[in-house]
């Protein structure tokens, strides 16, 4: 089937094969595996006193290219495939995996995993049900969506665009990554579901030099799409300009202030605030165990009125979106905080069951060799009524932070940090001088009660976010409108 013809059709005309058929073709057929084999493995699992078990098949391909010093310096290709078998009994989980997609290896993994429970009665499973899932992205292989020559040409164009901006740009590193992940999940509840997940990303990092001073800037973006996403609308070139602008601004930056002050966060990527301050603490596992600063606080006011925060895995093409999670459940739009009131947690199947709820489609895992757990997708705050300019004008003296690096949170105490990479002083209602990057620190359950103005300018990030939890890394998205936070601690050097 000529894929270019199909891609141009409106999405409601579904003539591409189902995700699940593609997944079967990639994962089961080459190994001569049939659904009856999966049923036999699941039967083995259920012959023990197990509440739920699943088999997760994965075939992943990642290709990456790096340009540095104006040359295509590196390229790498990675193939990862295997299957993980998990058995759950109460709060216990047994897990084993294999990189051989063969029946005997699966059976052995199942026998190892089920040892978590005692032997019980023999049951028979039939996998047939598939849960309806939306089509948030096309089941394409992004690795082959450009030729190699086109990929390296794109890198060179981005390099040239960055260098063209300013003679002070001394170093440019551009990386281009495409991933193609095909997954299939068979569960003892009889469901069988599959997904084909494309992901592309381009990152630019530059160093600008002025006299003795050197500063860095970075930009980038991506989506669950073909490489064309990066080329369209000149996006990749825009990332290069973003990186240069940030480096040049930082060349002028003065020492950042230290202390508690009013902070205005720009739209988009500063939403990493929500990811750290709110998101992790609302993941079901921590709340089931009672180890989160948000444990047992559903229904309480944890944010100012006007603050509504969601985790939404159903945004078409977004980096954090999934047609189904890694437990085969459809992703959804989950309201975490509604008008300031804590509404719900993000759940995988196990934690939902133990807490007497249902999965919110947030069960995710890094690969077949990792256990699923509740994880975020795209986490953001809905827009409010204020014009962003009005928010800045309202601040007598404070910090305006528009770009951030990573963050971290202590789930139990609720304390979180996130580090600004581009920030300015606000003086008498105006954005004045740039200041050096600094870490901001706050208390998760308290910080949103300090929000006094929510902007009308909701933006999602450009699509480069990676979240780490218990050693597992996953692509995620964040976003928010411009926010005024009356009091937040800024960790500069200027006390």
């Amino acid at each position: 089937m000529p894929s270019e013809a199909v891609c141009s059709l409106p999405s409601q005309i579904e003539i591409m094969p189902d995700f699940i058929d593609i997944a079967r073709g990639v994962l089961l057929e080459p190994a001569g595996l049939h659904e009856s084999d999966l049923e036999r493995v699941l039967d083995q699992l259920l012959s023990y006193r197990i509440d739920m078990a699943d088999i997760y098949f994965q075939a992943g391909r990642i290709e990456s290219w790096v340009l540095e010093d104006g040359i295509i310096k590196e390229g790498a290709y990675n193939i990862e495939q295997g299957a993980g078998v998990r058995a759950i009994s109460g709060e216990k989980t047994g897990f084993a995996y294999t990189d051989e997609l063969q029946f005997p290896a699966l059976l052995e993994a199942a026998k190892t995993a089920r040892a978590i429970a005692c032997a019980g009665e023999q049951k028979r499973i039939r996998v047939s049900k598939t849960l309806p899932t939306e089509r948030l992205y096309q089941p394409i292989n992004p690795l082959s969506s450009l030729t190699e020559q086109e990929k390296v040409d794109l890198l060179r164009q981005v390099d040239a665009e960055a260098r063209r901006q300013d003679p002070r740009v001394k170093q440019v590193i551009v990386s281009l990554v495409a991933a193609h992940d095909v997954v299939l999940v068979a569960n003892t509840d009889g469901t069988l579901n599959g997904d084909v997940r494309p992901l592309v990303r381009l990152s630019v990092s530059v160093i600008a030099e002025q006299g003795e001073r050197r500063e860095q800037g970075s930009g980038g973006g991506g989506a669950r799409d073909a490489f064309s996403y990066l080329v369209d609308q000149g996006r990749a070139l825009g990332f290069a300009r973003d990186a240069v602008n940030q480096a040049l601004i930082n060349l002028e930056a003065e020492a950042a202030p230290a202390g508690t002050m009013t902070v205005v966060l720009g739209p988009g990527w500063p939403g990493v605030l929500l990811h750290e301050a709110i998101g992790h603490g609302l993941e079901g596992d921590f709340n089931r165990k009672g180890t989160s600063a948000f444990s047992g606080r559903i229904g309480e006011k944890v944010a100012a009125s006007g603050c509504t925060v969601v985790d939404n895995g159903t945004l078409p093409g977004r980096r954090g979106s999934l047609n189904m999670d890694d437990e085969g459940m459809p992703t959804q739009n989950t309201v975490l905080i509604e008008d300031g009131i804590l509404k719900g947690y993000m759940q995988d199947r196990m934690n939902a069951r133990l807490m007497g709820g249902v999965s919110t489609g947030n069960g995710r895992r890094e690969s077949y060799a990792h256990l699923p757990m509740p994880r975020m997708t795209n986490t953001y705050m809905l827009p409010g009524k204020y014009d962003p300019q009005e928010i800045i004008s309202s601040v007598e003296k404070g910090l305006y932070a528009v770009n951030f690096g990573g963050g971290q949170v202590d789930i139990t105490s609720g304390k979180f940090v996130f580090s600004a990479s581009e920030a300015y002083l606000i003086e008498k209602g105006k954005v004045t001088r740039p200041v050096k990057g600094a870490t901001l620190i706050g208390d998760g359950p308290a910080v949103l009660t300090q929000v006094s103005m929510v902007g009308s300018d909701l933006q999602l990030d450009q699509g480069v976010g990676v979240c780490g939890k218990e050693g597992q890394s996953l692509p995620v998205g964040v976003g928010q409108p411009t926010l005024r936070i009356d009091e937040l601690t800024v960790g500069g050097t200027n006390a």
């Binding site: 084993a96 860095q216 060799a369 870490t439 006390a495």
Partner: protein
């Protein structure tokens, strides 16, 4: 993979795989190639609230190949060790090499630098522990933590990890080497509560051999003591003050230091220690040393990631930067010689001082003791440093109360120059060994 004969057989199989990869690369036209193969198996389990929570049986394989066509290179890797995967990986790497640019600095490390002798560094001590015994040990550890004090109200559990594996590296100079290693750890994280406020803390022990691990009860008790000591933490006001980085967090300062003298950071001019070789980076009393062939060292290796023989050396002596950390590529970029550090530093240590931690507190008088840091606020280009912190406020050398939700900020170049003393209380668990650091002055942001 518990017995030695099986390991020797496995070693020869993986060595064969490396030769197959190199032969395939040659067959497909590569002028040079290097390959690595690894195989690791283990058990990870967690006991929480007195019961098993997870049991994970891990088995990880990996294969990686880099091919050179003259000065152009391409790489590929996979978790599949089959003959088909060998051919496919080499093919993928060769295809990539068609599109990368000729790079005068690319290539294998020089043949004469390859490690000639591969001494046994005593790194392989598999732990013959079955699941039941592992559960028992985890239970002892967690029980010791939960039983210590009624304010320990919850637990994230105790985790035991045991892994043993092999890594073989070879290249078209004819070098091939590798040896089995093992790594075991036991950790515990518990939660204390006072009024509404909860605090979490943890402790862990790690080693090549099970015999090197701390006792399970001791690990649990330390985790509990640490979680208890944080209760009642408050925020302090913004100020400037001296700071002690407790040894287990001081390791991160040494990591920032090594990050700044890494070849890749230097040739990219993205280091705050650019052009600092033979310059004063620390006060006179500081010596920082790398000992890559330490017996039973967690970071030990007889050759680096390119087959180059590793050797002990001073990175800093008398406060002066004596060596960068280079692999062959960054060395060529800088017009220097590799230091045998492809893959990083191995068993780094700063010489301990005479004062233990309490004496160091006395030396400081009034200031902040940092016991945990959060976030990534280190700018390696400028050295600007701003991180979330928690710890204790100290007056007249005595701990007064725990503090949290503050940041500490400065610039690493100055922080290094302002190092007043290194403690004798060495943190020895990982690849980096250091006592606590007393820094003259930093900015603390709080209320």
């Amino acid at each position: 993979m518990s017995n030695r004969e099986e390991m020797i057989e496995r070693e020869s199989r993986l060595e064969q795989l490396v030769s197959d990869l190199l032969a395939e690369a040659k067959k497909q036209g590569a002028s040079a190639a290097e390959a690595g193969v690894s195989s690791d198996a283990g058990l990870s389990l967690t006991v929480r609230m007195g019961d098993v929570e997870t049991i994970e049986h891990t088995r990880d394989n990996g294969l990686g190949i880099t091919v050179y066509f003259g000065q152009s290179k391409g790489s590929a890797s996979t978790s599949d060790l089959s003959p088909q995967a060998v051919r496919d990986s080499v093919k993928a790497a060769c295809n990539i090499a068609k599109y990368t640019t000729e790079d005068a600095c690319a290539g294998l490390a020089d043949a004469q630098l390859m490690a000639k002798e591969l001494p046994d560094l005593d790194l392989y001590h598999p732990w013959d522990i079955d699941v039941d015994a592992a559960i028992e040990l985890g239970t002892q550890c967690e029980d010791a933590a939960r039983g210590l004090d009624s304010r320990i109200v919850n637990s994230e559990g105790a985790s035991l990890n045991t892994h043993a594996g092999l890594h073989i590296y070879g290249n078209s100079h004819g070098f091939v080497g590798g040896y089995p290693t093992s790594r075991h750890s036991l950790s515990c994280a518990v939660i204390s509560q006072q009024a509404e406020a909860m605090q979490r803390d943890y402790w862990y022990t790690v080693g090549c051999a099970a015999a090197d691990l701390e006792a399970a009860e001791a690990v649990g008790q330390k985790a509990a003591q640490r979680a208890l000591s944080r209760l009642g933490a408050r925020k302090i006001s913004t100020r400037e003050a001296p700071v002690i980085f407790q040894s287990d967090v001081a390791t991160s300062l040494l990591r920032s230091f090594t990050g700044a003298i890494r070849g890749a950071a230097l040739y990219r001019k993205s280091s705050f220690l650019l052009d600092h070789l033979d310059k004063k980076v620390f006060p006179d009393f500081v010596r920082i040393h790398e000992n890559p062939r330490l017996l039973r060292g967690l970071g030990s290796a007889a050759f680096d990631g390119e087959g180059v023989a590793t050797k002990a050396k001073d990175l800093v002596s008398d406060g002066i930067l004596k060596s960068y950390i280079l692999g062959s590529y960054s060395a060529r970029k800088l017009g220097m010689q590799t230091t045998g550090n492809a893959g990083g530093v191995r068993n780094l240590a700063i010489d301990p001082g005479e004062l233990d931690r309490d004496a160091l507190l006395k030396e400081m008088g009034t200031g902040l003791l940092v016991t945990e840091m959060m976030g990534h606020g280190v700018n390696m280009v400028t050295g600007d440093y701003s991180r979330g912190a928690s710890g204790f406020w100290v007056e007249q050398g005595e701990i007064q109360y725990p503090v949290e939700e503050i940041t500490i900020a400065g610039n690493l170049k100055q922080i290094f120059q302002q190092l007043l003393a290194v403690g004798s209380d060495e943190e020895c668990r990982g690849n980096i060994r250091t006592g606590s650091w007393l820094i003259e002055n930093m900015t603390i942001a709080g209320s």
